[in-house]
Point group: C3
């Protein structure tokens, strides 16, 4: 699980770097946006739940990995075009892992189930939202394709199965699969949630 | 007081949903922005004061209500135009309630009086600021009409009266009335604070 | 050190006010943006490290000073044009002080060295980033001239010297000098970090 977590962190750092690159940030800005994307969701989760200090202060691997991934992306992107579809799959994978970890963290604090669903979604999505705010854009996940919703579904599955007594690895895998398939299906067929339509505007 | 608090939460969630709707967010985005608007100010207050976990983790009614208000708004706004002036009055009411709650929270932590004024204003206004940042705009309350200032005035009244030994319900009502009348007067006559004017630009 | 800290706070509040002024915020907005710029970095640092309540709740001088500096700037800027180059030098000075304080805070919590470097940079730069986000812009320090990098270098020097057993005032002064000269050199010769360049876009 720890290795999967680090993998998710690296993937999120890469997507953060690419977003920063589109805004022509410098190498420091790329590192910051990459780190915020990778550890931002988990940071907000820890603050909300009152876990202190936040996880990446306790285990610096997350930061080291984020910064390393940002630097590699910074260099590699000059010479190669990143295969976008592969990145999307990796990102969906990271979303799945982060969701399970976020739910688990809330459960370990014996927070209510609703809160666990929220922190799961938050761990997966808040980093990407902070990335978009830093890049001066309305967060993508609030307006395009099913993303956080995949995470929400996975969180519900995880908590239901945990409540039914399944072991961590079983409910975690099932939840992860739900996130992954929902998200990949959304990408494949361009599924979106209905948009807000107001009368008389 | 608890019921008033929930009422304020619902109203803020509705204004958050409408702001999200103007940006064409999807139903998930609307829920997120609504929840951030409704509980964002109190969340920052709790983090700043070191109250943990934050209030909506301890009492999930706030989140349930925010999400429900967002969904109702999402559906209703398709068929009816919300009466804007009524919403403004309700919002002023929510601001009054949140201000008193924010001051009270700081006092219970025996924070300095100045901090209580700040957390009162923060509880009322920070959610709206986060809403605007998420929607990609410079927060309205930093540039238009008297809003946070009404909250500030109310906070001062609340703390003065509390210091003079008045009971909670008396100082709370008086402070709430001050916020409400200041804000409604500002809306009615378009009162604004002076803007920053720089020489030689 | 405390006086230097207050000086840095005032300078950051002035730069925050001027940025708010460029966006035509009103006097309340100017105060908020000034305070966020001045105490925002240290607030995030305290939240991340789990220090609670945050520093300006324990010592209200920081807030009083920020608000006072904002009001003075608000009035003075109507009649005089602030000498921009002097402000940049003062700001570099504030960055130096905040960096040392941020590193020191992490060390006192016996956080890992890497975290101390990060909280040092954060204390110096996160306030400015929040200022720019509130003003609806992509943070300057992520894309222009060497700024946070100066802070980063200073942090490394401070921690190396502390690890080698130098007293606080010696490693602090040396680190401060490194920040100051790096930043001033960057301003003088317009030094920037390399920007992100992606192939095929």
């Amino acid at each position: 699980m720890y290795l999967l977590d680090l993998f998710g962190t690296a993937v999120f750092a890469v997507t953060g770097s690419l977003a920063a690159g589109r805004k022509q940030l410098d190498v420091f800005g790329v590192m910051v946006v990459a780190a915020v994307t990778a550890v931002g969701g988990g940071t907000i989760r820890d603050l909300i739940l009152g876990i202190r200090p936040v996880f990446w202060v306790r285990d610096t691997n997350y930061v080291v990995l984020s910064v390393a991934a940002a630097l590699v992306t910074f260099v590699v992107a000059r010479y190669y075009k990143m295969p976008e579809s592969l990145l999307l799959v990796f990102d969906a994978f990271g979303l799945a892992v982060f969701t399970v970890i976020g739910c688990e963290a809330a459960m370990r604090q014996s927070a209510p189930v609703l809160i666990a669903v929220i922190t799961g979604t938050m761990t997966g999505s808040a980093g990407g939202m902070m990335r978009d705010v830093l890049c001066g854009e309305v967060p993508l996940i609030l307006r395009k394709e099913i993303y956080a919703t995949a995470s929400l579904l996975g969180g519900v599955v995880f908590l239901l199965m945990s409540a039914m007594g399944f072991r961590f690895w079983m409910s975690g895998s099932a939840a992860g699969l739900v996130v992954l398939t929902t998200r990949l299906a959304a990408i494949r067929w361009g599924l979106s949630l209905p948009k807000f339509i107001a009368r008389d505007r």
